[in-house]
């Protein structure tokens, strides 16, 4: 039976996390059907239809999906889901919010945050803040899975176009949340989880104003900005900058950690980066143990010098 991939999109484009999930889906050697739900899902659905592995796109359009709620999406997907062996979504806050609800109503387990698919019934997922990797299997009739996007390449678009089929929206008959507002931490910089360079700051910055030093470096490198929990808690940067066990997982080509000690909860979100640089005034900081290049010193001296000496790349 085919595989159903629940697409995450911004009402016009598929997210990078969805593209990574499309790559993960290939491991199941099953026909891939993508479901795109939204108030104006046409563009994202068209995009989905272009990927070579995709054989069909379900499009569910309703004004109530402008700010999709897990409650509505679950009711709508329940019947559709029963025709599939595998249901996949990215392990972003979108997927983490929706898939457990759907899995529970299908009476199956959810295999969350999968980083490796060994065969279509055997998966690897990190546990204990990534300090261990568990290989798990389930006998449930439908395997519902969330994919950690940083563990898979983004799928490349082909030039085929899969057929579309409309699927009705089914409003939940039980009491629903009402969307009030979204405060977006808007930024011109690349998206944190798919950026090829990430520069992250921690408590060592001491204040929100001092983060400007990191912004200057990010601008020079065309990098995204991340942060430790301590920096977010202190209000230096918005919540969605948090990298770690309970924040975002990132795996860029280059990760530069500045004024971050390297607690296991932080490492959980960045230690799969290709090259890690640590800048910290404490030579004993644990971050140095996993850094490819460590530089001991005061960030307030080092950052301006580093930023000045980098030739502009972006």
């Amino acid at each position: 039976m085919p595989l159903l991939l629940i697409a995450e999109h911004d009402q016009s484009n598929l997210t990078a996390s969805t593209l990574a999930t499309l790559t993960a889906a290939k491991a199941f050697s099953a026909p891939v059907h993508v479901v795109v739900m939204g108030s104006s899902p046409e563009k994202a659905a068209e995009e989905a239809a272009f990927f070579k592995s995709v054989e069909k796109v379900w499009m569910i359009k309703d004004p109530r999906l402008a700010h999709p709620l897990a409650e509505d999406m679950t009711e709508t997907l329940l019947d559709l889901a029963k025709g599939y062996d595998f249901i996949l979504a990215p392990s972003t806050t979108f997927g983490k919010n929706l898939l457990p609800r759907l899995a529970a109503l299908l009476d199956v387990a959810l295999i969350s945050d999968v980083i490796q698919i060994q065969d279509k019934n055997t998966f690897v997922r990190p546990i204990y803040a990534g300090n261990a990797l568990a290989t798990v299997t389930s006998n449930d009739p439908i395997k519902v899975i969330t994919i950690r996007p940083t563990a898979f390449e983004k799928a490349q678009k082909g030039n085929s176009s899969a057929p579309f089929e409309a699927c009705p929206f089914k409003e939940s008959s039980s009491p629903l949340p009402i969307f009030v507002r979204m405060e977006t931490s808007s930024s011109e910089r690349p998206e944190l989880t798919s950026a090829s360079i990430v520069v992250s700051g921690g408590r060592g910055f001491q204040s929100k104003e001092n983060f400007a030093l990191l912004e200057a470096l990010a601008d020079k490198l065309g990098a995204a900005i991340g942060a430790s929990r301590a920096a977010v808690d202190a209000g230096f940067v918005p919540n969605d900058y948090q990298v770690g066990q309970t924040g975002k997982a990132v795996a860029p080509t280059l990760y530069i950690a500045v004024g971050i000690s390297g607690a296991i909860q932080h490492l959980a979100g960045m230690k799969d980066s290709k090259i890690i640089v640590a800048i910290n005034k404490d030579p004993e900081a644990p971050i140095f143990q996993i850094a490819d290049y460590g530089l001991v010193g005061d960030l307030f001296k080092i950052l301006p010098e580093l930023t000045a000496k980098i030739k502009k790349t972006a």
């Binding site: 709620l69 290989t135 918005p238 790349t313």
Partner: protein, 249 residues
């Protein structure tokens, strides 16, 4: 309004766990255990609602072997009114826990259920959403703010793009994120008082819930180690390495 809070006993967040040599799991012998940090935040939020006169009774629940009673006593010392221990020797997984909590909801009729967003041992991040689904209640996940206005709550959710605010009618399920509150410490007098509070033990069988794990762990290994630790002397050396050795800028 009765509030139900689910708490799990987990390896303390400061412990760097070790994988057992036979690859069957984590070595738990002699390891410090604590209340899951997100569940501490859940208890704290319930206590604050009660202190504001917005909650009448706080019931804490834990599912597992006898050792979870220790976590329940901690929750009682933090201000919960009574505790229920659902006893099982089986490894608990989100679907089974959600079904157990649903059975208790039918007995206790809480108007608000607070769970942690994630247990820091298995890092599943599922149980609250599953429970909300089974009950077909509205869900407010990963919240950093909660206000109750009569028969409605307003929550702010920490999501990938920023902060999302939702309103929802009670009864509802919410899961806590780190910035919801800063939990208090249990004081000695409150730890003593907690010993007098009611802790009911129910077997999972009497609730008629099947807790058989759906996921089977085949093996647990350590992640491949990173070989880090190379130090550079100054910015020039760092840039040289990044350009010519690592070739990343």
């Amino acid at each position: 309004m009765k509030v139900l809070v689910a708490v799990k006993r987990v390896v303390d967040y400061n412990v760097k766990v070790r994988v057992r040599a036979d690859e069957t799991g984590i070595d738990l012998s002699g390891v410090k255990m604590s209340l899951n940090p997100f569940d501490e935040i859940a208890v704290e939020e319930a206590v604050r609602l009660k202190e504001k006169g917005l909650a009448s009774e706080i019931i804490v629940v834990s599912i597992g072997d006898a050792s979870c009673q220790e976590s329940l006593r901690t929750a009682l010392a933090l201000g919960a009114d009574r505790a229920i221990h659902v006893e099982t020797s089986l490894e608990t997984q989100p679907l089974g826990v959600a079904k157990t909590l649903k059975a208790l909801v039918e007995k206790e009729s809480p108007r608000l259920i607070i769970l942690g967003k994630q247990a820091i041992d298995d890092d599943f991040n599922q149980t609250g959403q599953m429970l909300a689904g089974l009950l077909r209640w509205p869900q407010g996940t990963f919240i950093s703010h909660l206000i109750r206005n009569g028969e409605e709550i307003e929550v702010t959710r920490e999501v990938d793009g920023g902060l999302e605010t939702l309103k929802m009618p009670l009864p509802a399920v919410v899961t806590t994120d780190l910035r919801l509150n800063e939990p208090r410490y249990a004081t000695l007098p409150n730890i003593m008082k907690a010993k007098q509070k009611s802790l009911e033990v129910i077997s999972a069988e009497t609730l008629g819930v099947d807790l058989t794990p759906r996921l089977k762990t085949l093996k647990v290994v350590e992640p491949p180690p990173r070989k880090g630790g190379l130090m550079v002397a100054n910015v020039d050396e760092l840039l040289d390495k990044l350009q010519h050795e690592a070739k990343v800028i």
